[in-house]
């Protein structure tokens, strides 16, 4: 299969069996899942980034990324998502995976707001968000330092009409 074809997606909660595959993802200098400096993070710190909400994302059975969906407000149907695919994943994979994650996360619960945010230096993440039809809500400036310069993060969201 070439990387432009859409793979068969699957996922599972992170477990120790995924440890080596996940550490390999963090050898990529732009694997920005909960850190702006992935390849310089030590093993212990990477494992602390991976919590019980974190799932590994598999394309045709191979670990290619991570995601997490967290509730932001118990009674507001407001969730946030963090999504990262490895550098070799083409933009079509991001769109495809995101579409499947949306479908899965709205399958048995109401979602009114789904928020994502990407650092200003995260060109792949921003390109995905801007091509996914998400609403760009603004930039919170100067929240982090990356390669000697200060950057903000850009907030995106998709909002559905509440059912009730």
């Amino acid at each position: 299969m070439t990387t432009t074809e859409t793979p068969r997606w699957s996922s599972r909660p992170y477990s120790d069996a995924d440890r080596d595959a996940v550490l390999a993802l963090y050898t990529e200098p732009d694997f920005y899942f909960r850190t702006g400096d992935p390849d310089t993070r030590p093993e212990w710190e990477i494992l602390e980034l991976i919590d019980e909400d974190t799932h590994v994302l598999l394309a045709d059975g191979e670990v290619v990324g991570l995601y997490a969906v967290e509730s932001e407000a118990n009674n507001a149907c407001h969730y946030s998502m963090q999504l990262r695919l490895r550098a070799s994943a083409p933009p079509a994979w991001w769109q495809s995976a995101f579409g499947e994650l949306l479908r899965a996360n709205t399958w048995r619960r109401e979602v009114v707001r789904l928020a994502l945010r990407f650092d200003e230096f995260d060109y792949r993440g921003l390109a995905f968000a801007r091509s996914a039809g998400l609403r760009e809500e603004g930039t919170l400036g100067a929240v982090t330092v990356h390669e000697g310069r200060r950057h903000g993060y850009v907030s995106f969201a998709r909002i559905w009409e509440p059912i009730s």
Partner: protein, 151 residues
């Protein structure tokens, strides 16, 4: 060169025949064979930043003060090739990746470190610490060398 994060498989790189805490810890040729090697603990908390210089050894930013953005750095190397590139990388990583504004370290003149290479990347001798450590049966002096961002 780019420093990378520590993995458990790098444990062998954390011990060697260099002075403890040395800014540029190079293997000492006359290290007694029965003397215990110097070791540093693997990174396990935010109080230190230990990275691996691929093929060379470790770089450890310790005594980290994230508020005032300064750290003491120590390096343990198993080889001596590419020191100039490594030192540039150490300073760049400290300033640009960790966003520190000051890095300093201990230099022991008796072991004849290549201080010219330190000076080339901006380090300056700041102080002499008389009888600050012990080597070969006697106390010896150490120096503090530091580099300040935007200096």
């Amino acid at each position: 060169m780019r420093l990378r994060g520590y993995r458990g498989s790098d444990a062998d790189l954390l011990a060697g025949p260099w002075l403890p805490g040395e800014l540029l810890g190079l293997p000492l040729a006359d290290w007694p064979p029965l003397a215990a090697p110097t070791t540093v603990p693997p990174p396990a908390d935010p109080g230190q930043e230990l990275c691996i210089a691929p093929g060379l050894g470790f770089v450890r930013y310790t005594e980290l003060d994230w508020v005032h953005r300064r750290a003491r750095v120590e390096i343990g190397l198993h080889g001596v090739d590419g020191l100039d590139v490594l030192l540039k990388t150490v300073v760049a990583h400290g300033f640009l990746t960790l966003n520190l504004s000051r890095i300093h370290g201990w230099v022991t003149p008796l072991v004849d470190p290549p201080i010219g290479l330190l000076a080339d990347v901006g380090f300056q001798r700041e102080a002499v610490l008389p009888e600050a450590t012990w080597l070969d049966g006697r106390p010896i002096d150490r120096e503090i060398w530091g580099v300040v961002r935007n200096d």
